[in-house]
C-alpha cells in the first residue's frame, strides 16, 4: 500500500508559516551552537545537540497536532485548561528553579507548565469569546474572559514569573481586541493596570486619574461601569506599594535596573550592561560566528537562553540582527494573515492570540537585550534554548497551519 507521505506530514495551508519557523529554528540551533563556544565551562556547551533533539520532537508534535481537527480542540479546550491549572498548582507546590518555582521535572526532563498554560488559556479564551453572538459592549460581559486569564495569570505571578504573567495579560488584551471589543472599553479595562504603575508617584497618579475622569465624562459609559473603573483605578494606585513590597527582591532589582542599569553595575545591572556592550561591539558585520569575545569570556550571561539575541548582535552584527528581525517579522506577518483569513471565529482568535504571544515574547526578549524592556526570563521564539518552549511553539504552529489549511 502506498502511503501518501505528503498529506500525512503536511496539513496544507500557507507553506511559508512552517517553512519560516523551521528556518528560524535551525538558525536558532546554530546560535545555540555558537553560544556554547566559551572559554569557561558552561552548560551551554553541547546544548545545541539537545535542542536539535527537541526540534525533532517538536516536528513530530507538529505533524501529530496538525492532524487534529480544530473543532476537537474547541471541545477539548476546557479539559486542557483544567489540566494546565492543575499543573500550575502542582508546580507551585513542588516546582524547582533558580529564582522561581517554574520547572516541573519528570525524571531528568524538565518542563515549564506555564508554556502549556499559555496555549490552553488561549484555547479556552477563544472558545468563550467566539461563543458570543453579539459584539461585546459592556464591561460585565468581560467577567468570564477576564477570569479565564486571571486564574493562570495569578498562579504564574505567584511563582513568581513576571515575564509569563505579562504574556497572560497580552493574551487577554489580544483576544478581546480580536473579538472586536471597542478600544475605549479595552482602555477602561487596562486603566487600573496603568494606575498600578503610576501609583509610585501620587502626583503623576493624580494627573492620570483626572484625565481618566475627563475621558469617562466624554465617552459616557454606563454609570455603574464608570464608577467601577474609577474605583478600580483608586485600588490600583493604592495597591502599588504593597504589591511592590510583595515582589521578590530580584524582581524589584530588575525593575529598578531597567530604569537605570548603572545603579548596580556588578549585580543586577551586569546583565544589561554586558548585553549592550556585546551588541554594541558587534558593529555592522559582527565579530564573526562563534568569535564574540564578550560571550566567549562569559561576560554575557545566559547566553544560550535569555540573551541569545545578544550573541546574534555581537557575532553577526547589525546585518545579522536585521536578517533575524526580518525573518521574525515575516513569520509573524504570515501568522497574522492566517488569523485574518480564518473564517470561523474560534481558530481566528486562537491564531491571533498565538501571534500576540509570540510577538510579546520577541518584543520583551529582544527589547531587554538593549534595555528597552525590563529583564525577564522570557525566551526568544525559535532562538532561545529550551525544550518545552520549542515544543509548545511547534504545537501552536500546528494549529496555525491547520487553520491555514481549513480556511
Amino acid at each position: 500500500m502506498k502511503v501518501d507521505w505528503k498529506s500525512t506530514l503536511w496539513p496544507g495551508g500557507d507553506p511559508r508559516v512552517p517553512g519560516l519557523a523551521l528556518l528560524l529554528a535551525l538558525l536558532g540551533i546554530a546560535m545555540i551552537y555558537s553560544a556554547g563556544h566559551v572559554e569557561v565551562p558552561s552548560v551551554a556547551t553541547g546544548a545545541w545537540r539537545k535542542q536539535l533533539i527537541w526540534l525533532g520532537m517538536a516536528l513530530v508534535a507538529f505533524v501529530v497536532v496538525s492532524r487534529i481537527p480544530l473543532r476537537w480542540l474547541d471541545w477539548a479546550s476546557v479539559w486542557m485548561y483544567a489540566a494546565s491549572i492543575v499543573l500550575l498548582v502542582v508546580v507551585l507546590l513542588i516546582g524547582r528553579g533558580p529564582n522561581t518555582r517554574s520547572w516541573l521535572y519528570v525524571g531528568p526532563i524538565g518542563m515549564q507548565p506555564a508554556e502549556f498554560a499559555k496555549l490552553s488559556t488561549i484555547l479556552l479564551l477563544s472558545r468563550t469569546l467566539s461563543s458570543y453572538q453579539e459584539p461585546i459592549g459592556r464591561l460585565s460581559q468581560l467577567i468570564r474572559p477576564v477570569l479565564i486569564v486571571l486564574l493562570p495569570f495569578s498562579l504564574v505571578a505567584l511563582q513568581p514569573d513576571l515575564g509569563s504573567s505579562m504574556v497572560f495579560g497580552a493574551i487577554l488584551i489580544a483576544g478581546l481586541f480580536w473579538a472586536g471589543i471597542p478600544v475605549a472599553t479595552l482602555f477602561m479595562l487596562v486603566s487600573p493596570g496603568i494606575s498600578l504603575l503610576l501609583g509610585f508617584s501620587p502626583l503623576v497618579w493624580g494627573v492620570w486619574f483626572m484625565a481618566l475622569a475627563v475621558f469617562l465624562y466624554l465617552y459616557r459609559p454606563y454609570a455603574a461601569e464608570g464608577i467601577l473603573v474609577l474605583l478600580a483605578n483608586v485600588a490600583g494606585g493604592a495597591l502599588t506599594l504593597p504589591l511592590w513590597r510583595s515582589l521578590a527582591p530580584y524582581q524589584q532589582n530588575r525593575l529598578i535596573v531597567f530604569l537605570d542599569p548603572t545603579v548596580d553595575p556588578r549585580g543586577a545591572g551586569w546583565h544589561l550592561i554586558q548585553s549592550k556592550v556585546a551588541i554594541g561591539s558587534g558593529g555592522w558585520y559582527g565579530q564573526g560566528f562563534t568569535q564574540g569575545p564578550q560571550k566567549r569570556l562569559a561576560f554575557l550571561p545566559e547566553q544560550h537562553t535569555d540573551f541569545i539575541f545578544s550573541v546574534v548582535g555581537e557575532e553577526l552584527g547589525f546585518l545579522g540582527v536585521t536578517i533575524f528581525l526580518l525573518l521574525l517579522v515575516w513569520f509573524l506577518h504570515r501568522v497574522l494573515a492566517v488569523a485574518r483569513a480564518a473564517e470561523d471565529p474560534f481558530p481566528s482568535l486562537v491564531v491571533f492570540c498565538l501571534f500576540a504571544v509570540w510577538l510579546v515574547h520577541v518584543i520583551i526578549n529582544v527589547g531587554m537585550t538593549v534595555g528597552l524592556m525590563p529583564i525577564t526570563g522570557l525566551p526568544l521564539p525559535f532562538l532561545s534554548y529550551g525544550g518545552s518552549f520549542l515544543l509548545m511553539l511547534f504545537v501552536g504552529l500546528a494549529i496555525v497551519s491547520r487553520t491555514s489549511a481549513e480556511a
Binding site: 569557561v40 551588541i279 569570556l297 517579522v329 506577518h333
Partner: protein, 614 residues
C-alpha cells in the same frame, strides 16, 4: 490593519535601536568590550647586576616567584585572600594590609607575595580552579651573596612605598614595583631598575587569565643596567671578618687617586637579603629598635667628634697661613695640661710631653701644643679654614643620606647658639683637638686625609666606577706647598713608624703607613677610637678612616688603630704580593725619598720667612 501596523512599527523601532547601538555607538562599545576583557600585567624588569672592581658579584638576580591577584571587587578579593591564607600563611593583619592597599589602587593587580617559596607556588598551582584570579609569575629576586658584609653600601630593595610614589623621582612607577630603598640600590635606582614591561592578557568574567591578547603586543621589559663599583669585595669581607667583636663602628677606604671607595663597612650590620620580598615585621622591629642601630650607615650618615685626627686640619690651616711651620715650637711646654682663663685643659699624657715641635706634637698627639697652635691660628682663621677645606659640605659621595657633619661656620654660629656672652675664646682650644662643636663623618675625614696624602684637591669619593665620577676632584683644595705637605706626611709617617708615635705599638712589619690616631671624648661613654691613615706615604694607594665606638678603654688600648693598619696591610699585600717585607728592606737604609723631602724642605724653608721661632 491596526495589527499589521503595530507589528511593523514595533520591528522598525527595534531595528532603529539596534542601528543606534551597533552602528552609531559601536566604537564606544568596542572599547568597553576590550576594557572588559583586557588586563595589563606588569612584567618586572630584572635589576642590573652589581660587580666589584674585580668582577665579583655584589648584587645579582635569582629566580623567584610572585603571587598576585587580578583586580576585582573587594569582597571577591577578601574571600580569595581568606582562602589563600592557609596556603601562604597570611595573618589576619597581613590580609587587612593587603585589602587596604587594594582599596587605594583598585585597578592594579594586588601583589600578595613578592617572594613566594616553591612550596607556596605549588600549593596554589595545584588548586588553580579555586583561585581563578591568582597570577603566579617568575620574577627576578634580588640576592646579595656577601650579605652582611656589604649591607650599608649596597642597601636593599623593597616594594615602593606610597610616600615614594608621590615623589617626582618615581614618576611613572606603579604600586608594587620593587625599588632600591637604601645604599646604591636607592642611589642608582634609575640605572639599576630598568623599565618594567607590560603583558596584555585576556581574562574571562571570573577574572581568570585566558591567554595573551594578540592584537595588543606586550611592551618589552628593559632590563636594568649593570654597575661596576670600585669596592674590593675581598677586602670588604676581610674588614667584616676582623671587626673587633662586640664593638660598633665603621671603616671607609678610598683610592686617593681615583676616588674609588675600596671599603665601606658599618658595624653592627644586617643581612640585606632579609628585606627581599618584604621583611618580617618582628625582624624589622628588632633592627629598628636595637640600641646599636644596625641600620645606620656609620660611614656616611653618622658623624663623630673627630678628636686628635683633627689636629692635622689645625696644622694645615696654620702652615697655609704661615703661622706655623713643621718646626714651630709653642711658648708653653706640655706638662700634662694648659691653664687658660679659669680652666685647666688637659693633655692625654698626664706626665706631659715637654717642649715639642709641630712634627713631634703630631707624632705624639700632644694636646697642649695644639691648644696653643689653635690660639695662634686664631678662631676666625680656623673657622675660615674649615670652610675652605670643605668641612661644611658633604663630600658628594654617590650614596643617599650623607651627613655634612657639624662645625661652626663663624662667630655668629656661637652667638646664635650660646648668646654673645655665652661663650669665650676658649672654644678654639677644644676645636683644635677635635672636640667641642665638632662632628665629622668617617668619609669627610678620609677625604681630608686623602688631600694630605696627594696634595691639591682631593678626590670626591664614589662607589660606582664610571667615566663621570672617576678622578673627580672636590671643589676645595689643600692650599699647602708641596714641601710643607710632605713635612706633614713625614710627621704622620712617624706617628706609626717611629718610637713615641701614638700608633707605633701597632706598626706594620711589612709596610710603611702614615696615619693619625684619635681618641674622641664623647658624652655617651668611653672615648671613641679613631685611626685615619694612608699608605704608602710617598705614593698612596689607599686612604683609610676607621672608628670603633667606645673603643678606647684606656691609654694603652685603641681598638681602631690595629684594625685600620691591618686593613691597609691586607690591601697592599693584595696589590703587591711579590714584594713581601718591603718595610724591612727600606728600614736597612734610611728611605731615599724621605731624605729627598728633607732636602727639598730645607731649600723651601730658606725661601719662606714666617718669623717662626724654632
Amino acid at each position: 490593519m491596526a495589527a499589521e501596523g503595530l507589528l511593523l512599527g514595533v520591528f522598525a523601532l527595534l531595528g532603529l535601536v539596534f542601528f543606534r547601538l551597533q552602528v552609531l555607538r559601536s566604537s564606544t562599545f568596542e572599547l568597553r568590550s576590550q576594557e572588559n576583557r583586557l588586563r595589563a600585567i606588569t612584567v618586572p624588569a630584572p635589576r642590573g647586576t652589581i660587580y666589584d672592581r674585580h668582577g665579583r658579584i655584589i648584587a645579582e638576580n635569582v629566580p623567584g616567584y610572585s603571587i598576585s591577584l587580578l583586580p576585582g571587587s573587594s569582597d571577591t578579593l577578601r574571600a580569595t585572600l581568606d582562602r589563600l591564607a592557609s596556603y601562604l600563611h597570611l595573618s589576619e593583619a597581613e590580609r587587612e594590609v593587603l585589602l587596604a592597599k587594594h582599596a587605594r589602587f583598585p585597578n592594579q593587580p594586588l601583589v600578595v607575595r613578592d617572594d613566594a617559596s616553591f612550596a607556596e607556588v605549588s600549593a596554589i598551582e595545584e588548586r588553580r580552579p579555586e583561585f581563578p584570579r591568582a597570577v603566579v609569575e617568575m620574577r627576578p629576586r634580588r640576592h646579595y651573596p656577601a650579605a652582611r658584609a656589604i649591607a650599608h653600601l649596597v642597601g636593599y630593595v623593597g616594594e615602593i612605598s606610597e610616600a615614594e610614589l608621590e615623589r617626582p623621582k618615581y614618576l611613572g612607577y606603579d604600586p608594587g614595583r620593587i625599588v632600591g630603598k637604601d645604599g646604591i640600590e636607592r642611589r642608582y635606582e634609575a640605572t639599576l631598575g630598568g623599565v618594567p614591561g607590560v603583558r596584555f592578557v585576556e581574562v574571562n568574567a571570573l577574572g581568570s587569565i585566558v591567554g595573551d591578547f594578540g592584537p595588543r603586543p606586550a611592551i618589552e621589559v628593559r632590563p636594568g643596567t649593570d654597575l661596576t663599583i670600585g669596592l674590593d669585595l675581598a677586602l670588604q669581607q676581610y674588614v667584616d671578618s676582623i671587626f673587633p667583636e662586640g664593638m660598633r663602628g665603621g671603616v671607609v677606604a678610598l683610592d686617593p687617586s681615583s676616588g674609588d671607595v675600596l671599603v665601606l663597612y658599618s658595624h653592627p650590620t644586617f643581612d640585606p637579603n632579609a628585606f627581599i620580598g618584604g621583611i618580617d615585621v618582628g625582624l624589622w622591629r628588632s633592627l629598628r629598635d636595637d640600641p646599636a642601630h644596625p641600620l645606620l650607615n656609620r660611614v656616611s650618615t653618622a658623624s663623630y667628634p673627630p678628636g686628635s685626627i683633627f689636629k692635622l686640619m689645625v696644622a694645615a690651616a696654620g702652615m697655609a697661613d704661615g703661622k706655623l711651620s713643621i718646626s714651630s715650637y709653642m711658648p708653653t711646654a706640655c706638662g700634662g695640661g694648659l691653664a687658660y682663663g679659669n680652666r685647666f685643659f688637659r693633655c692625654w699624657k698626664p706626665g706631659g710631653h715637654g717642649l715639642l715641635s709641630l712634627a713631634d706634637a703630631i707624632q705624639e698627639s700632644c694636646n697642649v701644643y695644639f691648644y696653643q697652635a689653635g690660639m695662634r691660628v686664631g678662631l676666625d682663621d680656623l673657622l675660615a679654614a674649615a670652610t675652605r677645606y670643605g668641612f661644611h659640605d658633604p663630600t658628594g659621595i654617590d650614596l643617599p643620606y650623607e651627613t655634612s657633619g657639624v662645625f661652626p661656620s663663624s662667630r655668629e654660629w656661637f652667638d646664635e647658639r650660646y648668646g654673645t656672652r655665652g661663650w669665650t675664646q676658649s672654644v678654639v682650644l677644644n676645636l683644635s683637638i677635635g672636640q667641642g662643636e665638632n662632628q665629622q663623618s668617617l668619609l669627610r675625614m678620609a677625604q681630608f686625609y686623602s688631600a694630605l696624602a696627594t696634595g691639591g684637591s682631593p678626590v670626591v669619593p664614589h662607589i660606582v666606577r664610571s667615566e663621570g665620577l672617576a678622578g673627580r676632584r672636590a671643589t676645595w683644595e689643600l692650599d699647602l706647598t708641596e714641601a710643607r705637605r710632605r713635612q706633614l706626611v713625614a710627621a704622620l709617617t712617624a706617628v706609626v713608624n717611629e718610637p713615641g708615635g701614638t700608633a707605633y705599638p701597632y706598626r706594620s712589619t711589612r709596610w710603611r703607613i702614615a696615619g693619625k690616631t684619635g681618641t674622641a671624648q664623647n658624652p655617651q661613654g668611653l672615648p671613641h677610637s679613631w685611626f685615619v691613615g694612608f699608605a704608602p706615604p710617598e705614593d698612596p694607594e689607599i686612604v683609610i678612616a676607621a672608628i670603633v665606638e667606645f673603643g678606647h678603654p684606656d691609654n694603652q688600648v685603641s681598638l681602631a688603630v690595629p684594625y685600620g693598619i691591618g686593613i691597609v696591610e691586607r690591601y697592599l699585600d693584595s696589590l703587591y704580593p711579590e714584594v713581601p717585607f718591603r718595610r724591612e728592606a727600606r728600614a736597612e737604609e734610611p728611605p731615599a725619598a724621605a731624605a729627598g723631602i728633607d732636602e727639598a724642605e730645607a731649600v723651601l724653608d730658606r725661601g719662606v720667612s714666617d718669623g717662626d721661632t724654632p
